[in-house]
């Protein structure tokens, strides 16, 4: 069991208000009390105000109203430095480490004791002592780029603790970790809390994890605190309800379909990753019309490269791709798009959409090459606007209007737009790579339902996901991928999650090479 947190409060927030210039009230009189040594999860959907609250606590943003008390004393954080000096640490979702430097160098970087000259010996002793105290196992001389996501996160935690953090803010701590790493992470979090450090994980989804570690949960919705309750009083459906504000139906029904005709055939396909190493090798599979083909695996096992190769974004080093019987191995991306292949990448802003462009332009990205869209080289913006409005209304995109910039949309709404602009033209194949990553429960549910609906329209889906529940819920067939190879291709009938889990962790693969 956990240590019982002290009853004395360390951080208190009263009446915090933050309004943005665009008129959005991100935080609306938020009150919070955190106790010493407590693990206090902040839960909320995308757009609930979590990020704003986090940024205020860490001094990146300043509140318009309200006060923050630290150990009973009123504090104002003008910058992250102020916050760090007062004992607040932050572990970012996107790691802020220098990849080419060693772990030790990253940990001591910016520490006031480091000064102009670095006394590595002394710092090393201190860091080693700290790791021993918390029971962290970490190689101080490894270069950061060699570390896994979980190890990098640990480095960030150690760095914050080394700077004397008494409160640790964790931004979506488990979102980029693999299942075994999550267990290790939860252990280290418990160790930290035992040392009277308060931990504040901010979480969008993954409720079970919140449950297994937190003492207390506060739920934010639309900038307000909906509820703050101890974990003993909470249950998963109740938390989900507080987050979304209504009863949710988690049940999606997968209608088994008769396998249709072959639409895509991949033969002995191999490609390299960006580092020039083999990403996946000799992949064979057939995609049938109207089926969902689930590729299950931990990110980084070649799924992304496979999707990119099928889409023509990456050149294969061997093998063939046939679409509707035609060899498309050398066909351009544009021609594949025209044929009816569509790809939903995991990077929503930066690849799938451009934040600085309007929603109309972003919808146009999938239509600009269509004949109906350009007349004599001029874009038919009237039609583009119509399409955008249709996507917005048919796919429940919450947006002020079609001229809104994509950067102003929340992750869930942007994903609905990205999915909607593709579905509106009824493609033949959708390759969806981590389509629900980082989405809140409602949006996640929506995207899954839409993918299931594809089947009725005869659209085939390649679903790439590391969420096994999602894979099992949606797929007709499942291909667990490990180190660039399909371990097997299984019909999704009575499949056990544990079995797939073992496959994607390498349990069933031959272990030819020794992995570092």
């Amino acid at each position: 069991m956990f240590t019982r947190p002290d009853s004395e409060s360390i951080l208190e927030i009263r009446g915090l208000v933050k309004r943005f210039p665009n008129g959005v009230t991100a935080l609306d009189h938020v009150d919070l009390v955190m106790k010493r040594g407590e693990i206090h999860a902040i839960l909320g959907e995308n757009g609930a105000g979590k990020t704003t609250l986090m940024n205020i606590l860490f001094g990146i943003l300043q509140p318009d109203e309200g006060e923050i008390y630290l150990n009973g004393e009123k504090v104002v954080f003008r910058s992250p430095l102020d916050a760090i000096n007062k004992g607040i640490g932050m572990v970012h979702q996107h790691r802020r480490l220098i990849a080419a430097h060693t772990v030790l160098e990253n940990i001591i970087l910016g520490h006031p004791n480091t000064g102009k000259f670095i006394d590595k010996k002394k710092s090393r002793k201190e860091v080693e002592e700290l790791c021993r105290r918390f029971g962290f196992k970490i190689d101080l001389d490894a270069r950061v780029w060699q570390l896994s996501a979980g190890e990098k996160q640990l480095v960030e935690i150690v760095r914050a603790l080394y700077r004397g953090a008494k409160i640790l803010i964790l931004d979506e701590p488990t979102s980029v970790l693999t299942p075994p790493e999550i267990d290790a992470f939860l252990d280290s979090i418990k160790a930290v809390s035992k040392e009277k450090v308060t931990l504040v994980p901010f979480v969008t989804h993954k409720l079970p994890e919140v449950f297994s570690i937190s003492h207390r949960v506060t739920i934010l919705r639309r900038g307000k605190v909906v509820k703050s309750l101890s974990i003993a009083e909470a249950s998963i459906p109740k938390l989900a309800e507080y987050m979304v504000g209504r009863e949710l139906s988690f049940e999606l029904e997968r209608v088994p379909t008769e396998p249709g005709a072959e639409i895509l055939r991949v033969e002995k396909l191999s490609a390299l990753n960006d580092k020039g190493l083999v990403a996946f090798k000799d992949v064979d599979f057939v995609l049938r019309q109207g089926e969902i083909f689930g590729v299950a695996g931990v990110t980084g096992n070649g799924q992304q490269e496979l999707a990119e190769t099928i889409m023509g974004l990456r050149k294969p080093v061997g093998g063939k791709i046939y679409f509707d019987g035609k060899d498309i191995t050398k066909t351009s991306v544009l021609d594949r798009l025209k044929m009816g292949l569509a790809y939903i990448p995991p990077e929503r802003i930066g690849v799938a959409a451009v934040g600085d462009l309007s929603l109309v332009d972003n919808v146009l990205l999938m239509y600009y090459f269509e004949k109906e869209m350009s007349r004599g080289g001029m874009i038919n913006y009237k039609l583009a606007k119509q399409y955008t409005e249709k996507v917005i209304s048919e796919f429940n995109v919450v947006a002020p209007g079609p001229t809104t910039k994509a950067a102003h949309l929340s992750g869930g709404n942007l994903q609905k737009l990205i999915l909607g602009r593709v579905l509106l033209k009824t493609p033949k194949i959708i390759i969806a790579n981590l389509p629900t990553q980082g989405l809140d429960i409602a949006a996640e549910n929506y995207v899954r339902r839409k993918l299931l609906e594809c089947k009725q329209k005869g659209i085939s889906v390649v679903l790439i996901s590391e969420n096994l529940d999602e894979i099992l819920q949606l797929s007709d067939r499942v291909a667990p991928i490990f180190e660039g190879r399909f371990v097997d291709i299984l019909e999704n009938i009575n499949l056990r999650k544990e079995a797939i889990g073992a496959m994607i962790a390498g349990g069933f693969a031959e272990r030819g090479v020794n992995r570092a």
Binding site: Q62, R78, L313, G355, L364, M366, S374, M378, I379
Partner: protein, 360 residues
């Protein structure tokens, strides 16, 4: 415990800047540079108001500076457009100077070669020569960038020098040398550019071009592809936009526009080429670099580039009175121009950040 805590100023990042804010910032930066230069003027014992009044009355006086103001403004407008188009696709064209010289070469080559043709055919031919030469020169950098990912800034910058010495070789003691020192043979009468309302027709050509380019960028499919590429290379690849083709296209387009600037500067108006001594050549070539500053200030929008260019043109011409008429020390005109460009550059900060005074 009593603690004095003065509110501090903090910066907040702006994700998307509005057009209105961009205009406000530009006006503010111009005002700031005028105020700063006033201090310098006062230090020299001159009355700033008299100085500014003299500057603008000279620059806009039809009998004195107006024609020169228009001439320089049009040159700057062409180079601003030549800078804007490639950067909309994410390519930094700092080779307007080289493309401008190449355009000049192209224009004069056509004019000398087809001197016997009538004006109606010869002048379009000259324009075509200027645009084609500048375009080919720009396309080299675009091809290198698109095919081998060679940095276009380095390539265009180095090609600027090559272009200058090329034109120098042609004019100073070369095949095109005229009677006067470092001048070319004058162009035949038939090559003289027509005037509309007593202004070179290139002025109207430049303004029309700015409007056409605006429509091109915002309404056409190709313009859309350019904009997407400029925002995100990954998105462009993802939706099947050919990066190589676009790189070559925007650089040749930019080069063609800078080539027209070369036509305007010499073939259009004086109808002969004058190359100053190499140590002083920068005076003309430098004007092309205003394209970079104005392009950035106008947020790469061709339409506001029109007033911005005319404003800069009037200051460039007007500032000359500071030395000639007000007898201020040598170089004061350039000092003012330098201060304006530095203030413009410094105010770019406000394009990215908003300052917020912190409450205590």
């Amino acid at each position: 415990m009593l603690k004095l805590d003065i509110g501090r100023i903090k910066r907040e990042r702006i994700i998307i800047i509005s057009g209105r804010r961009a205009v406000e910032i530009s006006l503010l930066s111009i005002a700031t540079s005028f105020v700063l230069f006033s201090l310098v003027l006062m230090y020299e014992g001159a009355d700033p108001l008299v100085a500014y009044q003299n500057m603008f009355s000279f620059a806009f006086d039809p009998k004195l500076g107006l024609s020169l103001t228009i001439h320089r403004s049009v040159l700057i407008l062409f180079t601003t457009l030549a800078f804007i188009i490639p950067l909309r696709a994410g390519l930094w064209n700092v080779g307007m100077e080289g493309q401008f010289y190449l355009g000049t070469i192209g224009a004069f080559f056509m004019a000398y070669t087809f001197a016997s043709l009538p004006s109606e055919i010869l002048i379009p031919l000259i324009l075509l020569g200027a645009a084609a030469a500048g375009s080919l020169y720009g396309a080299i950098a675009g091809t290198l960038r698109g095919k081998f990912n060679v940095n276009e800034v380095v390539v265009t910058l180095m090609m600027n020098n090559i272009a200058f010495w090329l034109i120098y070789l042609l004019v100073v003691g070369g095949p095109w040398a005229g009677i006067a020192e470092s001048s070319s043979r004058p162009l035949p009468k038939s090559a003289h550019a027509p005037y509309i309302f007593n202004t070179p027709f290139t002025s109207f050509l430049a303004i029309a071009l700015a409007v056409v380019l605006f429509v091109f960028l915002t309404k056409t499919t190709t313009g859309f592809k350019i904009r997407v590429l400029g925002h995100s290379i990954n998105t462009a690849k993802y939706v099947g936009i050919d990066e190589f083709k676009m790189s070559v296209l925007v650089m040749s387009l930019g080069g063609a526009i800078a080539g027209l600037a070369g036509y305007h500067m010499w073939a259009g108006d004086p109808a002969f080429l004058m190359i100053p001594r190499p140590e002083a050549y920068k005076a003309v070539g430098d004007l092309t670099y205003w394209g970079i500053i104005l392009g950035l200030v106008t947020l790469l929008n061709p339409v506001p580039a029109i007033p911005a260019s005319f404003f800069m043109g009037s200051i460039i011409v007007g500032a000359t009175v500071l030395v000639r008429r007000l007898r201020l020390p040598f170089g004061f005109d350039f000092l003012f121009l330098g201060m304006i460009s530095i203030t413009f550059a410094a105010f770019q900060f406000f394009y990215n950040y908003r300052l917020k005074v912190m409450k205590k």
